[in-house]
């Protein structure tokens, strides 16, 4: 008994957290067995076992792979473009006061507005192919990256900048030696936020207008009342998002290990 309580005490957090999720899944699974659902609700109901079964079916029938592939391409290309544009722009805005002042109204306005509002426009311009989704991912992920890079540059230690300047460093060298290493943790935070926005762009873009992709699969399944397929799609998105966020968080704590704690909390 004593060893059991000790065992529990040491792992209380994991047991309670994992147990709660398991409990919810169990309840979800047993609901239709315990109470007979009215027809109206039974239509929208599925159980975890059904979801896993239909996931297996989709994989075996080779249906889900192409959807995942299209969504992954949209995600990666869009996010890649956002990094290519956002980082340099953030660095330049952080270093140049004039550019900062001139671009700030646009950055503030676009950052405050959910960029999803441009989806119909992007579809009108680029059609329902892959590019309208890549662009919505791009505009979604651009601003978190840009703003966090900018904040990183702004929060650089002035003393360090002055030291390398005094030793005759050029703007480029200052950037390379002081500014960039200092803003890396901020950039990683930006990346974490950008991943969330990018996934949002993929999902919604594909709901609205597309002929391939996981979002398309979810929307199509919902209109056909295939609720288990909806949950397969949702579960894949959830898994991807959790895995990526976790990865970036690991990176974050690794890169900011040398910093004092007050900076880490940011």
């Amino acid at each position: 008994m004593n060893t059991l309580t000790n065992f529990y005490r040491e792992r209380e957090q994991a047991i309670l957290g994992g147990g709660f999720i398991l409990l919810l899944i169990l309840i979800w699974q047993t609901v239709p067995a315990l109470i007979s659902l009215p027809r109206g609700i039974a239509l929208f109901f599925t159980t975890p076992v059904e979801v896993i079964k239909s996931f297996y079916q989709l994989v075996v029938k080779n249906e889900i792979q192409s959807h995942v592939y299209v969504s992954a391409v949209e995600f990666i290309v869009g996010l890649g473009l956002a990094i290519l544009v956002g980082l340099p722009l953030g660095l330049v805005m952080g270093r140049s006061k004039i550019l900062d002042a001139m671009l700030d109204p646009f950055v503030t306005a676009f950052n405050a507005t959910p960029r999803l509002v441009f989806l119909p426009l992007l579809i009108l311009w680029m059609g329902i192919g892959i590019w309208s989704k890549i662009m919505i991912v791009f505009v979604g992920a651009l601003f978190p990256l840009l703003i966090n890079t900018y904040e990183g540059v702004k929060n650089v230690d002035r003393v360090l900048v002055n030291v390398v300047r005094s030793f005759g460093a050029s703007e480029w060298q200052t950037m390379k030696v002081v500014v960039l290493p200092n803003s890396v943790p901020y950039i990683v935070v930006g990346l974490r936020l950008a991943i969330g926005r990018a996934l949002l762009g993929v999902v919604v873009g594909e709901f609205f207008a597309s002929s391939r992709g996981l979002g398309f699969m979810i929307a199509g399944a919902a209109t056909n009342y295939k609720v288990d397929v909806v949950f397969v799609g949702v579960a894949i998105f959830m898994g991807l998002s959790l895995a990526l966020t976790h990865l970036v968080k690991r990176l974050e704590s690794r890169l900011s290990r040398w910093r004092p704690d007050e900076v880490k909390t940011y």
């Binding site: 709660f20 405050a112 509002v117 904040e151 969330g196 709901f207 949702v234 940011y266």
Partner: protein, 262 residues
């Protein structure tokens, strides 16, 4: 001299205004004199302004805005009512934190909009579906910000209330609630953005009225000036709400820069 100091004081503001006016002018001039305008593909500021004025006068836009706002307010209030108590509970009770934190973190980190089609087929294309999605998206910023706020509550204040014979209720209302206010505001700022996403997604996907529906319908019918006018209205609303809350946040906690999760 006076001019010079005026310029340096307001340099940021002036440069910002110059660049905004410059972009609008350039946009207008380029499409008037340089590139012939294809009205099915692009538009220019003068046409947008005309469309905006027409919609203001006829009042159709306001109707759409009102319909979306109603859904937004309902979903958002529900998120406040549900989110804050859960956040306080999680922050105050260690076991509640252990139990609920992994589950809610998983939900917060995942793109819950993926559930939108399901919510729409369950609740219909009307108000309920919208409110459900907005609530689902907006509740987690409240939970987690309040949770962080309670965690940061000054233990000393709690002990003072206890020492002077205060009850659990006094701790909640005299210590915890005041000290989590800035966190609630920060949560509200994030929740507003997510709530607007909820409106847009449900209205793009399936709706018969609302600002998101208006934008997507104008796009489908190639009425680009009207579409840009509607987008502008949404942008202005989003900027006013978010920046207003950001100001409130710096007013409540001047020491906290509050940059995370913008």
């Amino acid at each position: 001299m006076a001019f010079k100091s005026f310029f340096s004081d307001y340099q940021r503001l002036l440069l910002g205004m110059v660049s905004v006016i410059g972009v609008v002018l350039l946009w207008e001039l380029v499409f008037t004199y340089v590139i012939p305008l294809n009205p099915f593909f692009f538009t220019k500021p003068s046409l947008i302004a005309a469309a905006f004025k027409e919609q203001l006068v006829s009042g159709t836009l306001w109707k759409d805005v009102a319909i979306s706002s109603k859904a937004f307010l309902l979903g958002f209030s529900l998120a406040v009512i549900v989110g804050i108590p859960i956040g306080v509970f999680m922050g105050w009770r260690r076991r509640a934190e252990y139990t609920l934190d992994p589950f809610f973190t998983a939900l917060y980190a995942s793109p819950l909009v993926a559930l939108a089609p399901l919510l729409i087929i369950i609740f219909g294309v009307g108000l309920t579906g919208k409110v459900a999605l907005i609530f689902l998206l907006a509740v987690f910023p409240f939970i987690f910000n309040v949770f962080a706020g309670v965690k940061c509550t000054d233990r000393l204040l709690v002990n003072v209330v206890r020492s002077f014979g205060g009850r659990e209720k006094d701790i909640y209302f005299k210590v915890i609630l005041p000290s989590i206010m800035p966190y609630i505001v920060a949560g509200a700022r994030i929740a507003i953005g997510r709530g607007i996403v909820g409106i847009l997604v449900t209205e793009f996907y399936a709706a018969s009225e609302g600002i998101g529906f208006a934008i997507s319908r104008f796009g489908d019918t190639y009425r680009l000036p009207d579409m840009f006018a509607a987008i502008m209205v949404l942008m202005i609303m989003a900027v006013v709400l978010t920046e207003g809350l950001r100001k409130l946040e710096t007013f409540l906690t001047p020491w906290k820069t509050g940059q995370e999760a913008r």
